[in-house]
């Protein structure tokens, strides 16, 4: 018997036997389908989360180094290791700007978190107020919706001007142009000179609930001296080289002896991505494991059904063998039956899984990303489950002695 005929006839027999037991077929297809749907929905949603996170990170500026006295992210109670570190100074920042070949912009950054900003009638709460210089606009990748960003001259002259994030501007001036209006932060009046274009959110936190004031004005009000230096690079590819170079410049500027470790910390947005990947990677692993377990349960269902089917059709197998079917032909027939069921489950599961992913996208802020490879892998894996779990029943069918099989009641 030619393999093509074997396949064709095997499929025909498989379909006819599946039609003969519709309820059984539907239940088995559903078992596999649920596994595939779970797997596909979870993978799509996590891939969606990853994609949106990557996008958000990009908007944060990946070609940026943040230098601070203490690490931005640290695990465990390690503050005592850093408390004797000296503050970063403006001359050190100027040294980086003067000496670094990779740095495009170097700016200081000071933050006061969760401030209330008030206009005459309205209040915006939870605003992150940053004191910085003109180039921060480039470092942070901010677009202006109205007016201008703060300038170095604003800082040098300690002007009380402010640039508002889009969300802040909307809260304070819902029906007016905010430019040239006056707002208060900690009872001190500032004149609005600009409004930023919306930036969206990162990990659920709004990037538009912000305000910027000149660096020296900020120092005058809050007296903070411990600032962070933000360095934007010409080329993101130079991140490693730039980190080495700037570390060297700072060590010299801060007179760190060669045998001592750095007394400052360099942070990259990339590290945030690593932490995120570590978190979702574990989630991803668990979710995929759950999906695979569900599929295996479905596979055991298939095996069970196939064993029942072989038992029920023992005589049929005997007849086929008596009429000239080889063992291999019987194996192919039952394997095709098992993989047809599971492939049907795969198609059903794919449809439902994609539907679920779409639904999640529609009702939540999470955008599910469906990659063609995921779909192919889902259906393929389902069919594979059918094949693997069909092998034993098919082998049992083929091993039946034709004489015994024909006598089977």
């Amino acid at each position: 018997m030619k393999p093509s005929v074997e396949l064709y006839e095997g499929t025909r027999i498989a379909l006819s036997s599946l039609r003969a037991n519709p309820l059984r077929t539907i239940l088995t297809v559903a078992a596999v389908g649920i596994g595939v749907a779970t797997l596909l929905a979870i993978v799509s949603i996590i891939q969606g989360l990853n994609a949106s996170f990557a996008h958000q990170l990009e908007s944060l500026g990946t070609a940026t180094l943040n230098i601070s006295r203490t690490p931005q992210i640290s695990m465990g109670p390690t503050w005592w290791m850093y408390r004797n570190r000296k503050q970063l100074t403006v001359p050190q920042m100027q040294a980086i700007a003067a000496q670094s070949r990779y740095a495009a912009f170097v700016v200081p950054e000071l933050n006061e978190e969760s401030k209330d900003i008030t206009s005459r009638q309205q209040t915006a709460s939870g605003v992150d107020v940053t004191g910085t210089l003109g180039d921060f606009q480039r470092v942070g990748g901010y677009e202006m919706a109205k007016g201008r960003f703060i300038t170095d001259a604003d800082s040098d002259n300690e002007r009380f001007v402010i640039v508002l994030g889009s969300q802040v501007a909307e809260a304070l001036f819902p029906d007016r142009n905010p430019l040239a209006e006056s707002v208060r932060v900690d009872s001190r009046p500032y004149r609005v000179v600009g409004v930023l274009a919306p930036k969206g959110s990162l990990l659920g936190q709004s990037l538009d609930l912000v305000a910027f004031v000149p660096f020296k004005s900020f120092l005058g009000v809050y007296g903070k001296r411990d600032f962070q230096i933000d360095v934007a690079l010409h080329d993101p590819k130079d991140l490693d080289k730039a980190e080495d170079e700037i570390t060297g410049i700072l060590r010299r500027a801060r007179n760190v002896p060669p045998d001592k470790p750095d007394d400052f910390s360099v942070f990259r947005a990339e590290q945030l991505a690593d932490i995120y990947k570590g978190l979702t990677g574990a989630l991803y692993g668990v979710a995929v494991a759950v999906g695979i377990i569900t599929l295996i349960v479905g596979g055991i269902g298939i095996m069970n059904i196939m064993l029942v089917s072989v038992r029920e059709r023992t005589r049929e197998i005997g007849v086929r063998r008596a009429l000239g079917a080889r063992r291999r032909t019987i194996v192919v027939q039952f394997l095709l039956e098992a993989s047809t069921v599971s492939a049907l489950g795969g198609v059903l599961g794919t449809t439902v899984g994609l539907g679920l992913a779409k639904l999640v996208s529609a009702v939540s802020s999470v955008t599910a990303v469906v990659q063609p490879l995921t779909v192919v892998a889902g259906v393929g894996f389902a069919a594979l489950v059918g094949l693997v779990f069909g092998i034993w029943p098919a082998a049992r069918a083929a091993q039946l002695d034709p004489v015994e099989a024909l006598r089977h009641e």
Binding site: M1, V5, E9, A20, R315, V319, L323, G324, R326, V403
Partner: protein, 246 residues
Amino acid sequence: MLIRLEDIRRYYTVGEEEVHALDGVSIAIEKGEWTSIIGQSGSGKSTLMNVLGCLDTPTSGRYILNGQDVSGMSDNALADIRNREIGFIFQTFQLLPRETAQANVELPLVYRGLRARERHERATAALEKVGLANRVHHRPNELSGGQRQRVAIARALVTEPSLLLADEPTGNLDSATGEEIIRLFEQLHSAGHTLVLVTHEPAIAARCPRAVRLMDGKVVSDGPGAQVALESRAERARAAAAAVAP
């Protein structure tokens, strides 16, 4: 010579006991012969039928079918021999219940690897030959017992085998229908087919030109059907008398 069995033995082990189902059977059957194999249950006739049908391989001895020694053949080779050389007719018909008469008859041709069109033509012709041209699309449960056995005979004929092997073909039929089937066998015999019919009924053996009687796995007589049937009846009577004797 179509069939030559030389000292065929088939031993089984049941528990710790060795059962000699066939104990040195030697028979020769010519092309075109109609032979019945008669014997009571336990005589070894079913085992002989399985060996003749290449469903079972003998423990020892040689079996030459149509010039080929099949006694030591591989499983695959035996499957091909069954497909090409043998047409089975079973007591319980052994039709696939979900398939139509047509599809049932086509089945051996599927395993031969014929194209659908040729299968279809040959199956239709075979069903016509057994008088079922108008039942082609019926499923077995829509057919009478006699019609089912005719479908099974058509299935056996469709491959044009060198041997038709019937196992108690009238056993599940009423006597009138059984008679129809025997007449059909007579027609097939006169058309030149080689028939081997396994039965326990002397009346049926008597209709065959030749009968081979088995007892305890051995051939005890081989001759014209009517004569062997008589012997078989006498043997039964003796056995019955012995059973009721005080």
